[in-house]
């Protein structure tokens, strides 16, 4: 395992202006990751690939993660002085986590045979600013995998040479791996129309009549 903190300080020195953050991981795997800002991602990636000590020449796994907007609640212990007596009170603090889409890159080195170093990038939001820089120019291995992220999560990769759908068909409208994806209502394919299906069909017919 390579010390992520050391990589972080090195990168901050060599890539000026890069905002890096270590994302903790509480699971026994202990695989922490490095969150990179979009503007410096390509420079950081190139540095990681070409640094003589790291030589992370192999992007193994590239994938997306969807984090919809969520209200997180955590229990916080607060010391409070009530009538001159200090006591500890538990309080639930709620924070709003803004939604974002994330791309995760698992990097290894074939030359030095070490890894993984995990790189993450986050989009500004999940709707109109779902954009990230493409790292295909650094690692060709990202080409199909970034296309897959675009297809299933809807992240637009700037600078990708060939950003098309890859698993779903052209003309498909949505991004099915998102947490809020709703399957289209295919009542017509029900083999035996029963009460529930007929009820749903009514809705379709009234909509057709209205148009």
């Amino acid at each position: 395992m390579i010390a992520l903190d050391r990589i972080k300080t090195q990168l901050e020195a060599t890539v000026p202006g890069a905002r890096l953050e270590i994302v903790p991981n509480d699971s026994p795997s202990g695989q922490r990751s490095l969150l990179v800002d979009c503007a410096h991602a390509a420079a950081v990636a190139e540095r990681l690939r070409d640094d003589p000590d790291l030589r992370l020449d192999y992007a193994s796994n590239v994938t997306g993660v969807d984090w919809p907007e969520a209200e997180l609640s955590e229990k916080v212990k607060i010391k409070r002085v009530v009538e001159g007596v200090e006591s500890e009170v538990e309080e639930i603090r709620k924070t709003l986590r803004p939604g974002c889409l994330e791309a995760v890159y698992h990097l290894y080195s074939m030359e030095k045979k070490h890894g993984p170093v995990i790189l993450r990038m986050r989009t500004e939001n999940r709707t109109d600013k779902a954009r990230l820089p493409s790292l295909t120019a650094v690692w060709r291995a990202c080409e199909f995998q970034e296309r897959e992220i675009y297809d299933l999560y809807g992240i637009l990769f700037d600078g990708h040479p060939d950003l098309r759908r890859i698993l779903m068909w052209d003309g498909f409208q949505d991004h099915p791996m998102r947490k809020d994806y709703v399957e289209p209502d295919d009542y017509e394919y029900e083999p035996t129309p029963h009460d529930e299906v007929l009820e749903r069909a009514k809705g379709h017919h009234s909509r057709e009549a209205a148009t």
Binding site: N25, D26, S27, P28, S29, Q31, D57, Y58, A59, S60, N61, T63, V65, V104, H106, M110, K113, P116, I118, T127, D128, A130, R131, W139, R140, A141, C142, E143, F144, Q145, Y150, D151, L152, G154, L156, D158, G159, H160, P161, D162, L163, R164, R165, I166, L167, M168, W169, D170, G171, F172, Q173, D174, H175, P176, M177, Y181
Partner: protein, 404 residues
């Protein structure tokens, strides 16, 4: 890729949620040359999805100049069922039988990769006997995968039937072993988090030893027929060469990578399971052409046999599953883990994010044959159509895994 396409894509982003950049990467050529023009002479051919050499439902959009390939774009997704979404909707264990269907030739290595990732996520230990069983089943899987691949490759070259049937005969013996151990020939669903599902039945080790002892004889015979075959040499040598640097940069793994001369075998690098206890070599190719890829698989089978005979002799008795492992109510702590193994086709990885619930928050398969297809075009350019079939055959894809 020209610089123009890049800037054009960046300047005009498709509307969010729209179908995406509808323009295809290459200009679609008119089917008939316009009148008064002799035509460019280029021909667009759609190879597949129902082409016998595509090993399933896989399509290649090929642009040909005569018989020479000018452009080639793989098209897939015909078998896409969004395996990852399905897995996010069920418990961790319920996805185990589903992993069998990824690479349906190698269900046991798929099981192992998934179990390994979950074990990393939850911090489970695996008993020694279970580790041995895992190595034995994984190496048997590698034997039958490689031998079938060679059979299919020869079938693609026009040696219809016979070599494939020789390969299938040997595979049958290994599948019989799987059947008596797991109850299923291909969809084994055998590994569990922290061990294996059932112990070896009586007489299984002896039966496996017989298979392993007889295998080299078959391999010698197979190689005697094929190794010096003039047609095989002429069709494969110098075809579809993949340079080392490109192979590394494009994330190619498995026998394909080693055929290009890169010494990278995850069994040696990560030493997962108990691979540190076995003495085996990593065969490497020189030129990375189809012949090297064929030869690497033959040599890897011989190394697998070494591991197998060692493992079958050394297997200890004991429990086969970690007593702390919970089958019901399994909820790993929040966090994430990436586990990977050297599957017969390359690096098979599983990336899991847990939010503390019984279902994985994110479940991702890193399929080796999907990523090995990235450089299919680079390998096929300037080759004949007939070579494309062989090059694709030597990549060793299974569409259950590519499309997920």
């Amino acid at each position: 890729m020209s610089a123009e396409t890049v800037t054009a894509a960046a300047a005009e982003p498709p509307a969010f949620g729209a179908a995406g950049p509808a323009a295809r990467h290459y200009e679609i050529l008119p089917k008939t040359p316009p009148a008064g023009d002799a035509g460019s002479g280029l021909l667009e051919v759609s190879m597949g999805p129902h082409h016998p050499s595509t090993h399933g439902v896989f399509r290649m959009d090929v642009v040909l100049d005569g018989e020479r390939v000018v452009k080639l774009k793989p098209v897939f997704g015909y078998l896409h069922r969004n395996h990852e979404k399905i897995a996010e909707g069920t418990t961790y264990l319920s996805s185990m039988p589903y992993t069998d269907r990824l690479d349906y030739f190698c269900s046991l290595t798929n099981n192992w990769a998934y179990a390994l990732a979950v074990e990393k996520l939850a911090g489970l230990e695996v008993p020694e006997r279970a580790e041995f069983i895992r190595v034995i089943t994984a190496e048997l899987t590698r034997l039958q995968n490689h031998v079938c691949l060679i059979g299919f490759l020869l079938q693609d070259m026009g040696a219809l039937g016979t070599p494939l049937m020789y390969a299938f005969r040997e595979r049958e013996k290994i599948l019989d072993l799987f059947e008596s151990l797991t109850g299923a020939r291909m969809m084994c669903n055998y590994m569990r988090f922290g061990g294996c599902r059932v112990d070896l039945p009586e007489g299984w080790l002896e039966a496996a030893k017989t298979v392993v002892e007889e295998y080299p004889r078959f391999l010698d015979e197979f190689e005697r027929f094929l190794g010096g075959n003039e047609i095989l040499l002429a069709r494969t040598q110098g075809v579809g060469a993949l340079p080392k640097e490109l192979a590394v940069n494009a994330g190619v793994t498995g026998p394909m990578l080693r055929a290009s001369g890169v010494n990278y075998d995850i069994r040696k690098v990560d030493l997962y399971g108990i691979y540190d206890r076995f003495d085996f070599k990593v065969p490497l190719g020189e030129r990375g052409d189809v012949f090297d890829r064929y030869m690497i698989r033959v040599l890897e089978m011989r190394e697998s046999l070494k591991i197998l005979s060692r493992a079958l002799a050394d297997i200890p008795s004991g429990p086969i599953i970690d007593p702390k492992a919970k089958l019901r109510g399994f909820r790993p702590k929040p966090g994430e883990a990436y586990g990977r193994i050297e599957a017969p086709k390359g690096e098979l990885g599983f990336y899991l994010i847990s939010d503390g619930s019984p279902n994985p928050y994110r479940y991702r398969v890193r399929p080796p044959s999907f990523i090995n297809l990235t450089i299919l075009e680079d390998m096929c350019l300037n080759h004949l159509v007939a070579d494309v079939v062989i090059i694709l055959g030597s990549v060793d894809i299974v569409l259950g895994e590519v499309d997920r």
